[in-house]
């Protein structure tokens, strides 16, 4: 190399560079190269997957487009459960932490402490997505965006509102925070209410802003709206009167079920205690249960009209039969003596129900025999789920008649040893009201008949009509439920006062007060079951506790349903006009 150097400045003597310099440069380059190659290997091979993912995160993203959940409406289209859009606030923690001056104002609109917000962001600093606050109103969402904090975004979410509040809380049920049915009809109808979320492929920058919307788009499919058979106006009335009665009688709980006999439509189904479904922070688990389907009880005297209908149907008794009540005390066997409240002497069928004679009912039951009594209850729908499809529904207790002796048969005839739900009892009375034709009970208005739910003729129309006539005495001044009388309407009904089973047999202190009634007599439009559990006031008889609830609820129901009064004076318009002229 020395020889090739320019020789122009021959007079300048140059020191030859030391040999180590060239070597040092060479080694330097070599090390550099090796490091670069190693890093490239590391990135391309070792960490390739992770990095590709990270890149994707900052680039191409599938954004889920939430689908609106179907509404639950009453039979007139009034909303019982409705999804309304809300804004959920989320952030990229690292991006937000870069702008500490925005934390204060942001925390204020989010109703949080600044320090708490900072703590949460730091704790999740490595994440790309963190919910700061969920389900704000659209107006609050706009306030959040007005802060203009970096890395803070809104996400559209739907929130479930329950306009009927506690009045229909257990019936309608609840969804969880992610919008899936959790209780009640929200759970039962989940598959139909639920929508199909759509998706969108978009390109996002590091801060999560949508830079470009690429065409791939699956539109969200909204859930189905569902109409119930329930009439919200009746539901409100039922709940209001139930609540008032439970509080007035210092009872522990209660239920009201209203059914339209001609269709099997459940018009109202209220349960108390209840809860406010719009405030899930204060949920009381005991209020979640819908007692009309999840709680069973012994129907007591309310079962007597059913056994009577069966006996009439089989011809064991006739409409004019008279039964000797044995002075009010009747020894069935060594183990069982049936007692009446007092001696009613010889009773016809109307008086048997009016006075609620246990002896009379036991005699009819024994006349029928175990199999017939059992079959009657089975036919009326006891011991089996109704067609309502309500989650957690109980079947009650109806033991096989093979093991029934005289004692079991006699007690079953006045409603002990058998357990039913409020809904089952309403269904049984609806069959009586519909001239013996039992419609399967419905909570949802369906266009098509559910398989296996065809109407069944339980007793003959004659038997059903006769029993309805015999039940009309119950609400007379003579009867056990004079307080169930309705001005202008004929009422057939039956009271029940049941001792509850305690730790050691039947408890004298704890009762259940029942009333089941229907009106008008000739062609009942509504059947209503009222059950008040453990009243602790001075009254505990069904006629004093449950019957007034019936009267109050029915007064509203008949007005709402525009049922024509069938009792009392009727004037023709001409006569009224003539009356007007005279005065």
């Amino acid at each position: 190399m020395k020889q090739q150097r320019p020789t122009r400045r021959r007079n300048v003597k140059l020191e030859p560079p030391p040999a180590w310099r060239a070597r040092a440069v060479l080694i330097g380059f070599a090390v550099f190269g090796v490091v670069l190659a190693g890093r490239a290997f590391d990135l391309q091979v070792v960490e390739h997957e992770f990095l590709a993912q990270e890149g994707e995160k900052r680039h191409l993203r599938t954004v889920e487009v939430p689908a609106v959940r179907g509404a639950i409406r009453d039979r007139n289209g009034e909303p019982l459960a409705l999804s309304a859009p809300t804004e959920s606030v989320w952030a990229v923690p690292s991006a937000l932490l870069e702008a500490p001056e925005k934390l204060g104002p942001l925390a204020r609109v989010l109703d949080m402490k600044t320090d708490d917000l900072r703590e949460r962001l730091r704790a999740h600093a490595s994440r790309q997505f963190l919910y700061l606050r969920r389900q704000l109103s659209p107006a609050e969402g706009r306030m959040v965006m007005a802060v203009e904090a970096p890395g803070v975004f809104l996400q559209r979410e739907y929130k479930r509102y329950y306009p009927a509040g506690e009045a229909a809380a257990q019936l309608v049920g609840l969804t969880n925070i992610d919008g899936a049915g959790q209780e009640g009809l929200e759970l039962a109808l989940q598959a139909r209410l639920d929508g199909q979320p759509g998706s969108r492929r978009v390109i996002k920058d590091r801060l999560g802003r949508v830079v470009d919307d690429i065409a791939e788009f699956a539109p969200p499919r909204a859930g189905q709206d569902i109409r119930l058979t329930v009439d919200l106006r009746l539901q409100y009335a039922a709940y209001r009167e139930l609540k008032a009665a439970v509080e007035r009688n210092r009872a522990s709980s209660g239920m009201v079920v209203m059914v339209e006999p001609s269709s099997g439509d459940v018009l109202a189904m209220a349960s108390y205690p209840s809860f406010n479904p719009n405030n899930r922070d204060a949920l009381d688990p005991s209020g979640l249960r819908h007692r009309a389907v999840t709680d069973t009880f012994e129907p007591g005297s309310t079962i007597k009209p059913l056994i009577m209908a069966r006996a009439l149907d089989e011809g064991r008794i006739g409409p004019g039969s008279v039964i000797d009540t044995e002075g009010g005390v009747w020894r069935v066997s060594r183990d069982l003596t049936v007692r009446d409240f007092r001696d009613y002497g010889d009773v016809d069928l109307k008086r048997l129900l009016t006075k609620s004679s246990n002896v009379g009912a036991a005699k009819i039951g024994l006349e029928l025999g175990p199999e017939s009594v059992w079959q009657a209850y089975l036919d009326f729908g006891f011991g089996a789920e109704t067609a309502s499809g309500f989650p957690g529904e109980r079947t009650g207790v109806l033991r096989d008649f093979y093991n029934w002796g005289r004692v079991e048969t006699a007690t079953a005839a006045y409603g002990y040893g058998v357990a039913v739900t409020g809904l089952q009892l309403a269904g049984a009375y609806a069959a009586l009201a519909n001239d013996g034709l039992a419609q399967s009970l419905k909570l949802v208005r369906e266009q098509t008949q559910v398989l296996g739910s065809e109407p069944r003729q339980v007793v003959t129309p004659q038997a059903a009509r006769t029993v309805r006539q015999k039940m009309s005495g119950v609400v007379s001044n003579e009867g056990t439920a004079s307080r169930a009388a309705l001005p202008g309407y004929s009422v057939a009904g039956k009271t029940g006062t049941v001792r509850k089973v305690g730790g050691s047999g039947y408890n004298r202190e704890r009762h259940q007060s029942l009333f089941v009634g229907m009106t008008p007599l000739d062609n009942p439009r509504v059947v209503t079951v009222v059950v008040i559990d453990e009243p602790r006031g001075k009254d505990y008889y069904g006629g004093a506790v449950a019957a007034p609830v019936f009267a109050r609820v029915m007064r509203d129901a008949l007005r709402v349903m525009k049922v024509r009064p069938d009792q009392g004076g009727t004037l023709t318009a001409d006569a009224a006009a003539a009356d007007g002229e005279r005065s």
């Binding site: 659209p138 509102y161 919307d213 919200l232 004076g569 009727t570 009224a576």
Partner: protein, 88 residues
Amino acid sequence: MKSALLLAALLVVNLVAAVAVVGAKHESRSLRADLQSLRVARDELNTEWAQLQLEESAWANPDRIGRLASSKLEMSHPDEFIMLEAGQ
């Protein structure tokens, strides 16, 4: 000469196609923007509709109506009544 003409013609066609592509792209962009704004409008209308339904059910709550009827309008249930039959 012939091929030069062909070349010129293709050049013109190419130019027209290029302009058309630009036009189509522009139109697609503006249509997508329209779609987006319509979607936003629909969302807002849906939101409002849901709010209005909730508001209506709050105002028309049967308990509230009943309370107003008895307190403000002094209405009550007609427990005593006479049925009037329309004359034939």
